[in-house]
């Protein structure tokens, strides 16, 4: 008796083991973008929205009050790389994600690859495209598909301590990269830093090459061409290799980190070359009121006026039962002046994703930034001078990490950026192939 049960128990567990191994493929995302589209609902609809924007519910409340068919409920989640993405992806994998989630622009293709997003082209996004800023909408597009609604962007500009840079040191904000080299050198001799970079933050080099005119990831037919070694990329790599070799900028910490604030308050770090959303962060520099100003990103003789740094989208997740309503709400939020103003007022978003509307408060001069009307004077041209040919690859987290690691070794003087770009290009192609994608290096 006992022997029999033991044997059958063994057989049972053996069968379970075999079944486990046979079904050993990890769960794959559903085929939501091949299924028929879900028509708009007749009755009232409640949308759930996860984002790390602060006070987003207040924005949703404005919308909820404006009509009574769609109700939007928001939940705060940690920022993408601080756990937010893992949370969204795991919720989608578990089949219970929200309707809408905040996804950084550069992350959109990666989410699409994970099967987490609804292809909005199928819900008529193309007809709405003209409502959006071209620099914003270009970043959610892969091939012919639109994968998310841009919610804010970050055209790069220079935020600098005018009192120290101009008043104390008699310098000017660098207009070109050549000026940057010179100014950084003088500031360094004065025992200060023009900027301080976190070398492990790969977002900066990407914004630099984008401005320079590179197109690292080019969709061609069904595949990707990876091109990180063209002239536009190489001049950026060589420029920064020179800067790092001379050691004329800070490399201990990045902009708007706690040590950066401490140094900025003491006038030891003078600037940040970063996305337009830097303005709100910059305003918390203790004692900085009236001393800071904004200037354009330093430029190359050719190339674009600025690059894209940060910015987010609101993506409709593949588990949503109401993609049509979600798109309707998001179009309101991101293009209607009321929605854009609400996002600026409550959530402090970056640059407006709407075409021709930057937000009412941003049409005013700023007390913090020396009374400068910097949004209209500086950021608008930065937003208009974007590299619209740029496409984000579906593995930007890894690429950004690789670029960050590469820049760390470059700062330590081990491998220059120029070599790192070439190595990274080869590596990215092989990773993309491992991911089951069709990819090759540019020739």
């Amino acid at each position: 008796m006992s022997r029999f049960t033991r044997r059958s128990a063994l057989a049972g567990s053996g069968a379970a083991l075999a079944a486990g191994l046979a079904a050993c493929g990890p769960p794959s995302p559903g085929s939501v973008n091949a299924d028929p589209t879900i028509p708009a609902d007749d009755g009232p609809v409640t949308l759930t929205y996860w984002a790390w924007l602060k006070d987003l519910q207040k924005v949703a409340d404005v919308y909820n009050a404006s009509q009574d068919r769609i109700r939007v409920e928001t939940t705060w989640i940690p920022g993408g790389n601080s756990g937010g993405y893992a949370k969204i992806l795991s919720a989608v994998a578990a089949g219970g994600g929200p309707d809408i989630a905040q996804v950084e622009l550069r992350q959109v293709p990666e989410f699409a690859l994970a099967g987490a997003l609804v292809d909005l082209t199928r819900y008529g996004f193309a007809e709405r495209e003209s409502l959006f800023d071209p620099g914003a909408v270009a970043q959610v597009k892969v091939g012919d598909s639109y994968w998310a609604v841009p919610q804010d962007t970050g055209p790069v500009a220079t935020f600098y301590n005018r009192e120290v840079l101009e008043g104390e040191l008699g310098l000017e904000a660098p207009a070109t990269w050549e000026d940057f080299h010179e100014v950084a050198g003088i500031v360094s001799e004065a025992g200060k830093s023009l900027i301080s970079l976190d070398p492990s933050d790969g977002s900066h080099p990407i914004a630099w090459v984008m401005q320079s005119g590179a197109q690292w990831f080019r969709p061609e037919g069904d595949g990707w061409i990876v091109d990180m070694t063209g002239d536009a990329s190489m001049r950026v790599a060589e420029f920064w290799d020179g800067i790092f070799a001379e050691g004329i900028i800070g490399t201990g910490y990045g902009s708007y980190t706690t040590p950066w604030y401490a140094a900025a308050a003491d006038g030891n770090v003078l600037a940040s070359i970063s996305g337009s959303w830097s303005d709100a962060l910059n305003e918390t520099v203790p004692g900085g009121e009236g001393k800071w100003a904004v200037a354009p990103m330093p430029t190359w003789p050719d190339g674009y006026a600025s690059g894209a740094h940060g910015g987010s989208s609101a993506a409709v997740l593949s588990t949503s039962q109401h993609p049509a309503e979600a798109l309707e709400f998001l179009t309101w939020m991101c293009t209607d002046p009321v929605g854009v103003d609400a996002m600026i007022e409550y959530s402090g978003i970056g640059w407006s994703p709407a075409a021709d509307y930057i937000g009412e408060v941003r049409e005013q001069p700023s007390d913090f930034f020396s009374g400068q009307n910097y949004n209209e004077e500086v950021i608008v041209p930065m937003a208009q001078g974007q590299n619209l040919d740029w496409t984000w690859a579906p593995l930007m987290q890894r690429i950004q990490a690789m670029i960050g690691d590469g820049m760390t070794t470059a700062v330590n003087g081990e491998i220059p950026l120029a070599d790192m770009f070439a190595e990274t290009q080869t590596e990215i192609v092989s990773i993309m192939q491992d991911m089951g994608l069709n990819a090759e290096e540019a020739r």
Binding site: L21, C24, G25, N33, A34, N81, T408, D434, M435
Partner: protein
């Protein structure tokens, strides 16, 4: 008959849970680790399927510089941190057990206190003592002319080691004290009659007899080291030295939930588990080798 089914009834709840929460996931992880995904279309939107990958994931993991470095980093970390911690715990235990220690109960409780503070909260607390501009320690050190950045890339690993040491030294000390207390009084008596001082007593009586406890703490510390996750993950936003693949565990997590490469994540998880086995076996082997040599 009754007593034949009895042990299984008593074992059943444990075994059931053990199977569902440890055995099945491990089998699943092993299964996943031999698969990869094939996609068609720019983003796999025109279809994807899981295919058998053989050892590809393992080969890729073991040739992935970041992953191998993360393991190497943990080995260095373990060698230094576990040694420092065990030596400190033993020294504190011996000191507290000597006659010369005043208020031993107070000190014992104080040293044990950090064990009750979760790693996450310990890291938050220490991070305030690391951040330049916020940390009074950095301020004080720079007053005496020492400029130190606890979060600098080459420094941060040891700042993490400090947090782990802070948390677990008292705990390990208690294990050792318990073992010391189990040493029969006659042995001390005999040593005293031989005229042995505290140092001799420690070396020839106490240390050999607490070896089993030391072994236990070392093995648990090794497994703990391989699991390192919360501390570096929290410090990641403050230190440029910490990448999202800084420790083997962070790497597996990143592959699963950030790079959505589940096959690779599973392969890495399996490698972590096997490493824990091997390292524990090595530790046990060294122990029995030393046993034989004595």
């Amino acid at each position: 008959m009754r007593s034949k089914s009895a042990p299984w009834i008593l074992l059943a709840p444990f075994l059931l849970l053990f199977t569902t929460t440890m055995v099945v996931p491990i089998v699943m992880a092993i299964g996943y680790s031999f698969t990869k995904v094939e996609r068609s279309g720019l983003l796999g939107e025109s279809g994807m399927q899981n295919v058998f990958a053989g050892l590809d994931n393992y080969i890729a993991a073991l040739t992935n510089v970041n992953f191998v470095e993360s393991i190497g980093r943990m080995i260095i970390f373990g060698l230094v941190q576990v040694t420092v911690m065990i030596v400190a715990a033993t020294a504190l235990a011996l000191l507290l057990e000597t006659a010369s220690a005043k208020w031993p109960a107070f000190f014992r409780a104080t040293y044990f206190l950090p064990y009750g503070i979760p790693g996450v909260i310990a890291t938050i607390l220490w991070s305030f003592l690391y951040i330049p501009g916020l940390s009074p320690i950095v301020d004080v050190l720079s007053l005496v002319g020492i400029d130190i950045d606890f979060l600098a890339p080459e420094m941060v690993l040891w700042s993490i080691a400090n947090i782990v040491t802070w948390t677990y030294t008292g705990y390990n000390m208690l294990i050792i004290i318990a073992q010391l207390k189990a040493i029969p009084g006659e042995l001390y008596e005999a040593a005293r009659l031989d005229g042995a001082g505290s140092w001799r007593v420690a070396r020839s009586i106490q240390l050999p007899l607490i070896r089993p406890a030391l072994m236990l703490t070392i093995i648990f510390s090794i497994i703990g080291t391989l699991q390192l996750f919360a501390e570096p993950r929290l410090l990641q936003t403050m230190s440029s030295g910490i990448t999202s693949e800084y420790t083997p565990n962070m790497s597996a997590y990143a592959y699963a939930f950030q790079y959505n490469d589940i096959g690779m994540a599973a392969a890495q998880a399996v490698i972590i588990a096997i490493s824990a086995f091997l390292l524990s076996a090595v530790a046990l082997g060294i122990n029995s080798w030393m046993e034989k040599r004595r």
